[in-house]
Assembly symmetry: C2
């Protein structure tokens, strides 16, 4: 059993490009653009969570890999589209120029569309391979369904949409009633924009690994707390982090008048909530003892992350 984040990360890093080989002259730029963003050195949190959850439930890394790659393709597409001038208009991501800066806005739209499509392609190819060997399809369909729910119109895309709308509101100067509205909206954005993809990663891994209902329930609770903690940690880093450490522009949230945990509850309130969520996540998997060490360590490290 692997208990090290970086070992999982190395495995997924070695696999992500296998499905992204172009066939000739006319699709070269598209594939280059997709690979540019895939190779730009992300943390690979979502695929690592998927692989480790599958192993935690008793499955193998190998059978979870196509689904882990799908998660990272979806995450990467969302970053490419999010960085577009029509959305957050970011020039820098992970220390490099964003996709549309290098390939142009049109190709960046298509690179995102392509990665989202590739996520489903890679899962269907895996299902058909196993169907031909007479192996079970249902657990794979359940994993893909969880991923599709987390990424889709009741998951991440809905969160992005609410986030986009929140930017056109005035989130700095409000009375107490407005503050209530904003708190509801922030909760919605954090849950759907970020937590849903984290939850989907963990649940998909558990399905592939064959987890029972109790483990599904406990790990979903873990995932919900981890997902919300992750977004608050991200908001904190946008304020206290440096561009050098993070490889992206900081202070963007304030510049964009963005609704964040900090803008609503201040730095102290945000750190307190982050700590609560971390403890909730740790407690959700406490009864699994040493087997859940990886997951407890991961959320604890997250609380103190500087990049």
């Amino acid at each position: 059993m692997i208990n090290n984040f970086d070992e999982y990360k190395a495995i997924i890093d070695g696999y992500l490009l296998d499905h992204l080989e172009n066939t000739g002259e006319f699709d070269r730029t598209l594939f280059e653009a997709m690979k540019y963003s895939i190779q730009s050195g992300g943390k690979r949190l979502r695929p690592v969570l998927l692989l480790s959850s599958c192993v935690f439930a008793g499955g193998s890394i190998e059978e979870a890999l196509p689904y882990a790659a799908a998660m990272e393709y979806i995450h990467t597409y969302s970053l490419i589209h999010d960085d577009l001038p029509a959305m957050d208009d970011d020039d820098l991501r992970r220390g490099r120029p964003t996709n549309h800066i290098v390939y142009g806005d049109g190709m960046a739209v298509l690179a995102g569309d392509g990665l989202l499509s590739a996520a489903f392609e890679i899962m269907f190819k895996d299902m058909l391979l196993h169907a031909e060997n007479g192996e079970e399809l249902e657990k794979r369909v359940r994993a893909a369904d969880a991923i599709s729910d987390g990424a889709g119109i009741r998951g991440m895309v809905a969160g992005q949409s609410a986030d986009l709308e929140s930017e056109s509101r005035d989130n700095r100067d409000y009375g107490s009633e407005d503050k209530n509205d904003s708190a509801e909206m922030l909760k919605y954005i954090h849950r759907h924009k970020t937590a849903d993809m984290i939850i989907a990663s963990i649940r998909a891994g558990l399905y592939i690994g064959g987890a029972d209902k109790a483990m599904m329930r406990d790990m979903t609770l873990y995932a919900e707390n981890l997902g919300l903690a992750f977004q608050i940690a991200d908001d904190i880093l946008d304020v206290v982090g440096t561009e050098e450490e993070l490889g992206k522009s900081t202070g963007q949230d304030e510049k964009n008048n963005k609704l964040t945990y900090i803008s609503l509850y201040g730095m102290e309130g945000s750190r307190k909530r982050l700590h609560e969520l971390t403890e909730n996540a740790v407690n959700a998997v406490s009864e699994y003892g040493r087997n859940a060490f990886f997951f407890r360590e991961l959320v604890r490290k997250l609380e103190n992350r500087t990049k």
Copy 2:
């Protein structure tokens, strides 16, 4: 057996919105934007082909509906993204302002992302429903895989990418070697941007309906010819059609210096090729007699379409 395009169209029109109900305040705009484009009166060619192919193979309309809806969601997302300022920059589509004109560029990106995601969501939900009833999953996975191939990075997205790149080249003034290059590129664009989605619709319907290998082969040949014929007919209409009939801006291809069948082979050469492809499609299904009447009639009408 339905032998009428409009009857199929009415069935799919009545089904498309079922999966697009928003849940509350924060996702209202996203769902409105998706529904706006879904309801804008398309021909529904792809879902009708999927339903009729399923029936042709001996299946029911009902079990093909989620896959037919998925095709139309994917087709609609591709139009929304294609109309963006970063791509073709069109203000008018089917007689109404395009999605980004009404909802803004950012929301239009998300509405497209949402519809692409919804296509896969609706198929997975259908698979899980049938799995719970102990019914076959494999033919449904094969249908979804065909759709995903047609839409994805070796299908429509690749075609869109080549199309986008072709616009930055000079397609008007070339020597004979350039003309050869352009002919290759046009072939690639037509095959992937348009034909692949038509082929996917027909093959997905056949999988759901349980077609045998011979029917799969014959109908794939039909689909390939229909798909190419459809794009040439579209290029012709952009020159000879009126905005009033088509509900979109005409003469756009020339304005955008677009590589089209007309720019390469002229009007007469294009009409001739369209006729050849039509006859090929008709001949591909000749041995199915009256059962294939619907498909022969469809491609013949297409040859003479004015909108």
